[in-house]
């Protein structure tokens, strides 16, 4: 039986991803519908979807290089076609690695690999790094960030070993800046973009935490919005308004199940789809 993605956000389940369920739940918190698409289903069913999310995890066990094997998958032919036609696409963590290895982000020349998400460079440590960090919202014009205010400081967790945006081609970074393709930058808790560790947790060039294609419908982000969608997920000792809110919520499940700092990424999508008359 063919599955129906009509009015739904499709969350692509590659073998080895592990964030698909909570990502679908997070999407539902804003009133959107979400369904899982298994990588080897008939990609044609995605034509009906309203948006596509590539969740975090380890697609194909990160074999060869994170994201690269999934990027060559048949379903990505369809994602390429839909993304080029303007469908909102979000890649989170491993999903971002897939989008970069697919050449959709920055997509200056569509499908050409213009960036890498390289192994982290950190102070006094190496490899996998899982921690709450701060990011500053640089672009509200994308399909996934319209509900934020420009310059918003967003606490959000990262969890990766290869998240350092880097390019050999200076023109790519220049074009990304000129076109407004840098969506999130790592910063400190006050919003200051500081290139040194720990404010920049992985050595990413220009502190990039998320980037998009020229049109802004495809966003690749290393931080995990689905891990910051509910207030209870926020650490109690965050030195900001969210930390205070979390501490005030103690003992109150309704408050703690309320909005966390990352839910707006999904709310933005809903807003965009309504504006566009898709929903």
């Amino acid at each position: 039986m063919k599955r129906n993605f009509s009015r739904k956000v499709a969350v692509i389940q590659f073998p080895g991803v592990n964030c698909e369920y909570e990502t679908a739940r997070a999407i539902r918190t804003v009133g959107l519908e979400a369904g899982l698409f298994r990588w080897n289903e008939d990609p044609a069913v995605l034509d009906d979807a309203v948006a596509i999310v590539l969740p975090g995890g380890f697609s194909y066990q990160d074999r060869i290089r994170a994201g690269v094997v999934a990027a060559k998958d048949r379903v990505m032919d369809k994602v390429s076609e839909l993304a080029a036609a303007g469908m909102p696409v979000l890649g989170i963590c491993n999903g971002a690695q897939v989008l970069v290895e697919s050449g959709f982000v920055p997509g200056l020349q569509w499908e050409s690999v213009e960036l890498a998400l390289a192994p982290n460079i950190m102070e006094d440590r190496s490899g996998y790094y899982c921690r709450w960090v701060y990011s500053r919202l640089e672009e509200t014009g994308t399909a996934w960030t319209g509900s934020f205010s420009e310059g918003a400081v967003i606490p959000i967790p990262i969890a990766h070993a290869e998240g350092r945006f880097v390019t050999e081609n200076e023109k790519v970074l220049k074009a990304m800046k000129e076109n407004g393709q840098i969506v999130l930058r790592y910063c400190d808790s006050t919003g200051v973009v500081d290139g040194s560790f720990p404010a920049n947790p992985n050595g990413s060039m220009d502190n990039i935490a998320a980037a998009c294609n020229r049109e802004g419908n495809v966003v690749a982000m290393m931080p995990h919005p689905e891990r910051a969608t509910w207030l209870r997920q926020v650490p109690e000792n965050l030195p900001d308004e969210w930390g205070r809110r979390r501490r005030k919520g103690a003992g109150n499940i309704d408050l703690l199940e309320g909005e966390g700092p990352g839910r707006k990424f999904f709310a933005s999508l809903l807003e965009r789809l309504k504006q566009g008359g898709v929903l």
């Binding site: 996998y128 891990r227 650490p235 109690e236 000792n237 930390g243 205070r244 103690a250 003992g251």
Partner: protein, 339 residues
Amino acid sequence: MYDSEVQGRAVLRPGEADAGVIAPIDGKSVGLAFSVDGNPFYGLIDPYQGGALAVCEAARNVASVGAVPSAITDCLNYGNPEIEEVFWEFKEGVRGVGDACRKIGLLTEEGYPIPVVSGNVSFYNQGKSGKAIPPSPIIACVGVLDDWSVSRSIGFKDEGDVLYLVGEPLDELGGGEYYRTVLGTFGGNVPKADFIRERRQIESVIEMHRLGWIKAAHDISSGGILTAIAEMAIGQDPSNGLGFVLDLAELAPTGLEPEKILFSETGAFIVELPAGMEREVLALCARNRVRLYRLGEINSFPRLEVIDGSERLAIWELEELRTAYDSGCRDIFGVPAGR
């Protein structure tokens, strides 16, 4: 480092509290708490106490976040059991684990032990010289919460809140952090697991959680009261800059010398409660037959100070403590090589 947030269920992550907490079921208040603990130095002195204290501490850890210790699994690490002494160590360790589980017992089912639902035994752990490792029972404990929203991080929360010690330091510092790292000796007087005391303290702290009193809780283990308070100061929102003055005069009734008060590892809890609850908390502890000491109020100076009446014994800036805490492994092991 590992992925402590995958599945999006985390309420408290490793390091935020004595136990990690998750909210496993959508729309339900039930929570699960997890802790893994063990201290090889107690077992080196007394293998029975090594096993018993590992269970006590694991149970205490989940109680710190308000969870009822509901099951344990063990990981028992010893040397070559063909050597009579080593087998004896193993036997004593198992006896300690068993006694602790029976005598602390399930709080929810009177007369039932805390079940040991699984475990593994690792023998023949020895160096080339043939010398066995210290008896090292490691205990993981699962706790169940009716309501995960009461679980709090160990960090200080607000100025004016009061710290209480639930329990009491005893003169039993053998195998402890102070003897080993400061005095460079082991001692022989290892803490004695007092299961009735542990149970009553655990019950009291869980009750305080259920009543919604607790704003932070941390158990006393390696490094004693002073280390526990330092960890609570380090764990706070760094922009709050809260501090504490520990006045040993408050603990004078213990009759112990200052360093014994500060570093005794006798099982207990430190809890942070809002101001003005002295009468209620005293009544609760009296009813449960648990010792209680009011340690003082959290202040707004970012430092930790130890005084004895009017005499200042020690003072640390919060930043100093945080740096020392964060760089411990790096200082010992150096910077890891990367792939």
